[in-house]
Symmetry: C3
Amino acid sequence: MLTDLFSPTVQHSLDLAGIFVFAISGALLGVRKNFDVFGMAVLAEVTALGGGLFRDLIIGAVPPAAFTDLGYFLTPLLATVIVFFLHPEVERITKAVNVFDAAGLGLFCVAGTVKAYDHGLGLTFAATLGLATAVGGGVLRDVLAHEVPSLLRWDRDLYAVPAMVGSTMAALLIRYGELNAQTSMVPALTAFALRLMAMRYHWRAPRAWHRRSAATEGPDGT
Amino acid sequence: MLTDLFSPTVQHSLDLAGIFVFAISGALLGVRKNFDVFGMAVLAEVTALGGGLFRDLIIGAVPPAAFTDLGYFLTPLLATVIVFFLHPEVERITKAVNVFDAAGLGLFCVAGTVKAYDHGLGLTFAATLGLATAVGGGVLRDVLAHEVPSLLRWDRDLYAVPAMVGSTMAALLIRYGELNAQTSMVPALTAFALRLMAMRYHWRAPRAWHRRSAATEGPDGT
Amino acid sequence: MLTDLFSPTVQHSLDLAGIFVFAISGALLGVRKNFDVFGMAVLAEVTALGGGLFRDLIIGAVPPAAFTDLGYFLTPLLATVIVFFLHPEVERITKAVNVFDAAGLGLFCVAGTVKAYDHGLGLTFAATLGLATAVGGGVLRDVLAHEVPSLLRWDRDLYAVPAMVGSTMAALLIRYGELNAQTSMVPALTAFALRLMAMRYHWRAPRAWHRRSAATEGPDGT
């Protein structure tokens, strides 16, 4: 099983760290939307676990990990409590939160690809589910919070593309039989670095061809 | 099997009653949003069956009960017909509808917890899915109707907390081997009573700590 | 197996054609919402595959066809590339696109009904899932794009009703043992024709009874 890349403890700690930073971003959006503490907790859980939940439903791994591992379930609640009491402080370190979020993106796109492949999916679909694991929670968060999903918006720094590169690299490593605990860090770190650079240099994906010139004058979706 | 708490007929009648009142709230939102009769029916079905559908997908009980029991499917259509012809009358008895909705909340949070536990989930997750069974349909209803989910909003009377108390109590009764037809009424009635009191006294959950004073001036999520 | 109505090649080609036209409508909405090329691709995939994905999760056919057939996955990406470079031209032939979309609606409502029945669902539920296969992708598209689902809106030409007629006819043909490659074209063509006429004559479904007169003055959901 490829999922046994790391000792279970190391893998679990990495998972919990990724879940924690994703949950922070969900709870912070709950504060910004003026939701109550329960709404914050729902957004935290959904952001942290939604992508993996979608993956597990698709590959038929039921009940999903989110409903069998207490640590997965309680970590977002811990993040909610922290944001509840300390959200101005958390907002002030948004930059640091974003760095951790980028780390979570890198970890999840690789872990998601490996788990999907282990359940028998082809490499293209494993990479797609790896991407969905990494970004799916954020989409669900925005849908529940009644926002345009920031993943789809033109005026946001690249988020999906780094995850796509990471999950594609992981799939290629599997394809050539080179995936192990050491090499799996390469796609994760690549996705992490690409996301950091996308934030630093405000990289964006292009919009439809003829639209570009007109849209800078009056974007209607922003 | 814990699901055999009641005679099948009694259990089924309680289920249909809960489905009916949830469907009424879905169809009424369809009227308010100016949807056509088909849109009303979709909202009625989704509100009534969405929570249980989510639970059944998570626990792997496919096809879900919503797609195997004709009564579950037809009851929301009946509710749609009633609201279609009589919606001013139904609106006028909104208070009564809300009382029945609270009863549905109580029944569903207990039934959902028991069914999830019967499918092998741990008690914490069974209680969580009981909560999701009770409130999930309303969230789906609001997402499809393009509204901020009222479950997450600060300015609404407590809805999830009564269901959470009910499903937690049901899980504790299971834990101590005391759940039967009689005792299962205790968590259901507790959730029912808490929801009624939340509506009567406008109980609300707190928002994030430092926000409270500022947010009363200019809430941006309402 | 009823799914073997056609030679696999014919069936697959019909599926891909339906997926292609649905994906075009998703990518076009992405352009209108000012999303980037990645957002367009997500909407194209979701519109084309979302309905079938929902059906496959309900009937327990995991991993869903969308995650096992490369053609299903790549076709929406092809549609995205075409819309990316040629969207003014594609917009200009919106009428033609709508005709193809109506054809996809007809094909999908029949194919969805048959697949659901093959997986053991009752006829009523098979027809319901056939309808969901045909219209589910469009609802997901609108939810992700932060729009009121056009399926539910009163001021749109009938879309679900033609699919409902088609899937009901398909279920009746199954019921009377008369479904084969030839007869299955009847419900598909009926749904296709009804949708074309709905667009031509702007057929709409009624709204709730007493509302009709008042709502023409000030619709609040439009």
